[in-house]
Symmetry: C2
Subunit: 267 residues, 2 copies
């Protein structure tokens, strides 16, 4: 087993940085420092993981060994990398945690760089089951990739070498299954609110909808009026949705797609 | 507490009838008979719940007390009710389990009729947590409603008197959060398959997406490029989706809706 890249300097203390930092600490990986432009966030996390905090890039520690983990917003990664390089040197080991940003944005600045992407949705106040989070790891340099894989294995049972192209597809898919599903949950919430009905009525259904595809492929468990071809119900729903033109449009579009069996077609 | 309507004759042994029958039996409610046009299905369920089976409506038992529970397809409910009435009499207690069909379709045939709708998605091989299933109960007649409510309380901790109009809205909302979310899961599945990636990569994300809204309102936990206004990522995703015009269209539509904050608007 390759030596773990340790200690870790966390650049960013948002939701991803926060939970990654806590998990690293819980698994015995030393966090040397937490940087955030928001000093309060850096301090909050530093306190939990027993490290120091800073809001000054100039104050970021120079590591002989170890890893810089960049968990800042997608569009800030390249800028932060460019600013860090003269401070910490081009030879350090560095990775970002983004689902979308190419691994190549770090390469102009750092010889030993890669991607360390946990495929999960993080909120400050929910600790996810880290052992089940797929870690998508990539580095152009094989030794760097080995080190990142080794670190990922400390955090999770699900570790995958994933190329930039594959990660891009994963991220598109994640938008559909997470962001867009949550938007649909929001539609349910709004429809019920308008009638004075509690969202609690839908919660068990939502949980079961997700639970079903833990064991089955989604197209094997598709149900509902569109799948059954129940035109009377579809028409009655569309009539009700006349007061919400956007939802009506979405209802029509997805019902049509389900009926035409798009998800079962192969490319 | 009103007397339980017992025994129950189950008309229909599809997924809803099957799981309702099992739950009733488990809770000590006697099932007198199971009817299904598919004798095998009737027999399978009858065996589990210790009752007799038939595929002939003419052979359906006449109950002095008790309840006929119609769990057949939506568009067959009225026809079955019309055929049953001369066989079992207009005075029997009867309810259907549909999310969409009006309570009024039974009224021309039966004086004591109502709705007994478990708001959940049922598959043959998954036993859902019945105690958490919202039971939506309605009857025009108060005494009938009391009896149906009493029976629902035996099966679940979540029992609600729900009017026809409210149930219609619930069903539209259920289509969005269940059928349509599952369709989005299917898109994720297909995008990954096309790249040779396992759907397992998305499963923890899907489960967490549902888990989040168990505690929070969906619009409070909305994340992603559309919510952040990250146009570069959205454009890059749309470019990738050019090979799937329907998915591209859906991506554009929902991203736009999230950005314009539709779910946060109040009626």
């Amino acid at each position: 087993m390759p030596m773990l890249p340790e200690p870790v300097v966390l650049i960013g203390a948002g939701n991803v940085g926060y939970h990654l930092g806590r998990r690293l600490h819980d698994k015995g990986v030393r966090i040397a420092q937490v940087f955030s432009r928001d000093l309060r966030k850096a301090q909050d996390l530093a306190l939990v993981v027993g490290s120091e905090a800073t809001d000054q890039l100039q104050a970021v520690l120079s590591l002989d060994t170890g890893l810089y983990l960049i968990a800042v917003k997608d569009d800030a990664i390249e800028e932060v990398a460019g600013q860090l390089q003269p401070l910490v040197g081009a030879q350090c080991l560095i990775a970002h945690t983004s689902g979308t940003v190419s691994s190549t944005v770090l390469q102009p600045y750092f010889a030993r760089s890669g991607v360390f992407y946990p495929l999960q949705t993080f909120s400050r106040d929910r600790v996810p089951d880290f052992s089940q989070i797929p870690f998508c790891v990539y580095a152009a340099d094989e030794e760097v990739q080995e080190k990142l894989l080794a670190l990922a294995h400390v955090l999770s049972d699900k570790v995958y070498p994933i190329s930039d192209q594959e990660r891009q597809v994963l991220h598109v898919a994640a938008v559909f299954v997470n962001n867009f599903s949550n938007y649909l949950f929001g539609i349910g919430h709004q429809l019920l609110s308008a009638e004075g009905l509690s969202f609690d009525l839908l919660r068990p259904l939502i949980l079961e909808t997700a639970a079903k595809v833990m064991e089955h492929d989604p197209d094997k468990v598709q149900t509902g009026p569109a799948k059954r071809g129940d035109q009377l119900t579809i028409l009655s729903h569309l009539r009700y949705l006349q007061q919400y033109p956007e939802y009506q449009n979405l209802y029509r579009l997805i019902s049509y797609a389900i009926q035409s069996g798009t998800t079962r077609k192969n490319q």
